[in-house]
């Protein structure tokens, strides 16, 4: 397995950093949400599957170091909302996408607050890394750039359009 993890520690949840790929062995999978809830001593990592009610985590977010969000198939977009909600609620730790997401989704994933990705192959990780390095103009505020375009736009006068 390939991991692509943000190398910067960040205080602002909507700061996104440069990625460097590493070929380290996969770390032990984070416990599932059920196991996490049942544990007496709460682990600092947890995995959320689509459809799971993760509201129990809200008052523990500052204690969590890593949250993994699963994508059973790439067309299941629930993980995008889960990630963004966690960031909106102030979670600043590692947010990792795992499962069947595809590299064509990498910008959307990072814009929703993911800063770590687990890939099946080095070539995918490489493609994703290149994509993430590209600067893009976007309309919405996001994890990388909190202001929507309408708050950033430097208006040209109509005559110059």
């Amino acid at each position: 397995m390939q991991h692509l993890t943000s190398t910067e520690t960040h205080t602002d949840p909507y700061q996104f950093s440069v990625f460097t790929p590493s070929t380290t062995e996969p770390h032990a999978a984070a416990p599932g949400l059920r196991d996490w809830i049942d544990a007496d001593i709460k682990p600092s990592r947890v995995t959320i599957a689509p459809g799971e009610d993760f509201a129990v985590l809200f008052d523990q977010l500052h204690k969590l170091q890593a949250i993994e969000i699963q994508f059973p198939v790439f067309t299941d977009g629930r993980g995008f909302s889960t990630a963004r909600e966690l960031r909106e609620r102030g979670y600043t730790g590692t947010l990792q996408a795992t499962g069947a997401f595809i590299t064509d989704q990498i910008e959307y994933l990072s814009r929703c607050g993911f800063n770590a990705f687990e890939f099946q192959s080095a070539s995918h990780a490489k493609v994703a890394q290149v994509r993430l390095a590209q600067a893009r103009e976007v309309y919405q505020g996001d994890a990388r750039q909190p202001l929507p375009l309408f708050r950033r736009r430097i208006s040209q006068t109509r005559e110059t359009l």
Binding site: F74, T75, D76, G77, R78, F80, S81, T82, R84, E85, E88, R89, I102, D104, Q105, E107, Y108, L109, R111, C112, R136, E137, V138, Y139, Q140, G141, D142, P146, L147, P148, L149, F150, R151, R153, S155, Q156, R158, L161
Partner: protein, 552 residues
């Protein structure tokens, strides 16, 4: 209308480059068909019965003459010389080659057009009243908000892989021409003492399970529209069904949860977004509104000029067209002109490249270079001076664009059906044509008054058959094409779903069936009563009796 600045252009250009790359990877086998599918759909590219179909976005129906010319050129260069206006105000071409679609998108981007999110499980083109800004009864011009929401929804990172497609319509008029109650979210904008506010309706839609939308939130300050919509769509994204695509629309979720419980979940999300950077700024509303200010109208009297009056009394054809196809304009001395794409022998909504070019030129000459596409699959020239109407009409006639049939039986809505669409149970275009041919006596058609006849080739209801006064649905019976007829549906504020008349009919019987239905109306109507009002008064039974009496 709105003009791109370098930011808007950059966003579209990036998408063109990205899609080109995706298509090349697909063609090289680096992207599987399953992976490519949602990516191409988010760019308006369907693979249908004979060839791909490309749906080009016409944001809230506004299109400039230059853009229309570019579409005409594209139909010549890459397709078969014609285009189709869809019921959601977009433009479709039916025969592009997959390999060349990236080039089509590049051509479109040069005139500030694209195909972004015209299909796929994402937020689709936002639609509105085709007469926005020029018609009476409007509280405010909805188009600046349409544009602001277009920008917000374009390539939104959170909402590109929803359970199903998501359609938003906006109206701000006492007459709802945008069918806001038949959309996933319908927005009604109003002026209040504290500024512009919005009523938000949720969970309307047609398809297999037609449902009329319910009021979710009244009097939302308009600056909160983005934040509130994000909350609604997040709840849908998290909780909408993904196991069955026919139960995946927000209407099913809102019904299953109940509107109250759904609203409670929305409020939880809304609390996270209130008072945030998502709030639409006044300066943005001003910036965007400036693009929709009134054109340089001349000062005219409201009175019909005398030369127009004499033309009207001399020329019956012109007078018919004036009466049926033009509407009172808010600005004295101007009229709104509808161009019906419903001539006999063509598929409703189809338009040739020469007609597209001609309309572009006529828009430049007579209507400030702008046009609108409509949900009835027609085109509007919104700002024509009354004293130029005759000249315009002569030119429209030359191009067979003057069919005086707006609002009549001929002005049908019809989906592409079995001739093009791989999901179809039955053909729909030939049914529309057979009905037009059967009722070719326009005096009879006028005497029938306003009638909305809508045809879909299957349950997906692209032709809005549920909300037609007369709705026709193609069904498959043991491999043969049959048609189910429903009566009493309607759009607008009193939107309702039609009632099924009874067992379905073969294609060859359809003109007769419609004739019998119309005969009942003509014999039973009181004074000036319209079809739908007669139906409301007498109910479905007399129609049933007449239609099934002989065929049994």
């Amino acid at each position: 209308m709105y003009q791109y600045d370098h930011y808007d252009q950059a966003i579209v250009d990036q998408r063109v480059a990205q899609f080109k790359d995706q298509t090349q990877r697909f063609l090289r086998g680096e992207l599987s068909a399953d992976e490519y599918q949602p990516l191409r759909l988010q760019n308006g590219l369907y693979i249908q019965r004979h060839a791909p179909m490309l749906r080009i976005a016409v944001p809230y129906g506004m299109i400039s003459s230059d853009q229309l010319r570019a579409v005409a050129e594209i139909t010549r260069k890459y397709d078969r010389g014609y285009a189709h206006i869809s019921t959601r105000q977009n433009i479709q071409i039916n025969w592009p080659e997959l390999e060349r679609v990236p080039d089509i998108l590049a051509d479109l981007s040069r005139v500030q057009m694209h195909a972004i999110q015209t299909s796929g499980n994402c937020i689709r083109n936002i639609t509105t009243d085709q007469f926005a800004g020029v018609i009476d009864g409007e509280q405010l011009d909805p188009r600046p908000y349409c544009e602001i929401l277009r920008q917000w929804s374009t390539l939104h990172p959170e909402f590109a892989f929803l359970p199903r497609k998501f359609k938003i319509a906006i109206s701000s008029n006492t007459t709802d021409r945008a069918a806001i109650l038949a959309h996933d979210v319908g927005i009604e904008l109003k002026r209040a003492s504290k500024g512009v506010v919005a009523d938000i309706y949720v969970g309307g839609g047609l398809g297999r399970t037609p449902i009329i939308g319910s009021l979710l939130k009244a009097n939302l300050p308009a600056e909160d529209l983005i934040g509130y919509l994000e909350a609604v769509i997040r709840v849908y994204n998290q909780f909408g069904r993904r196991d069955n695509k026919y139960k995946a629309r927000i209407k099913i979720l809102a019904k299953a949860m109940g509107i109250e419980a759904f609203g409670a979940k929305v409020d939880v999300q809304w609390a996270l977004k209130k008072q945030s950077d998502l709030q639409i700024t006044e300066s943005e509303v001003e910036r965007v509104s400036a693009y929709f200010s009134a054109p340089d109208y001349q000062n005219f009297d409201a009175e019909l000029p005398s030369n127009l009056q004499s033309r009207l009394s001399e020329n019956r054809l012109f007078a018919r067209w004036f009466e049926k196809n033009t509407l009172t304009h808010r600005q004295p001395g101007y009229r709104i002109v509808n161009v019906a794409l419903k001539s006999a022998g063509i598929a409703p909504g189809d338009i040739t490249h020469t007609q597209l070019d001609a309309l572009a030129q006529l828009a430049d000459r007579f209507s400030f270079g702008e046009l609108r596409t409509t949900h009835q699959q027609n085109i509007v020239l919104a700002d024509v001076a009354q004293n130029q109407l005759y000249e315009l009409w002569l030119a429209l006639q030359m191009h067979e664009l003057a069919a005086p049939v707006i609002g009549t039986l001929h002005d049908m809505i019809c989906c592409p059906g079995g001739d093009f669409c791989s999901l179809a149970n039955a053909k729909s275009i030939p049914i529309a044509q057979a009905i037009q041919a059967r009722f070719d006596d326009l005096d009879y058609v006028y005497d029938l008054g306003p009638i909305e006849l809508n045809i879909s080739g299957c349950m997906n209801a692209c032709g809005h058959h549920h909300i037609g006064h007369i709705g026709i649905l193609g069904v498959d019976k043991k491999g043969r094409e049959f048609y189910q007829v429903a009566l009493g549906g309607r759009q607008g504020r009193e939107a309702s779903i039609g009632k099924i008349l009874g067992p379905s009919f073969g294609a060859e019987d359809m003109p007769d069936v419609i004739a019998k239905i119309l005969d009942v109306y003509v014999s039973q109507r009181l004074d000036e009563e319209t079809f739908i009002h007669t139906y409301d008064r007498i109910g479905i039974d007399p129609f049933k009796e007449a239609v099934y009496a002989t065929s049994h």
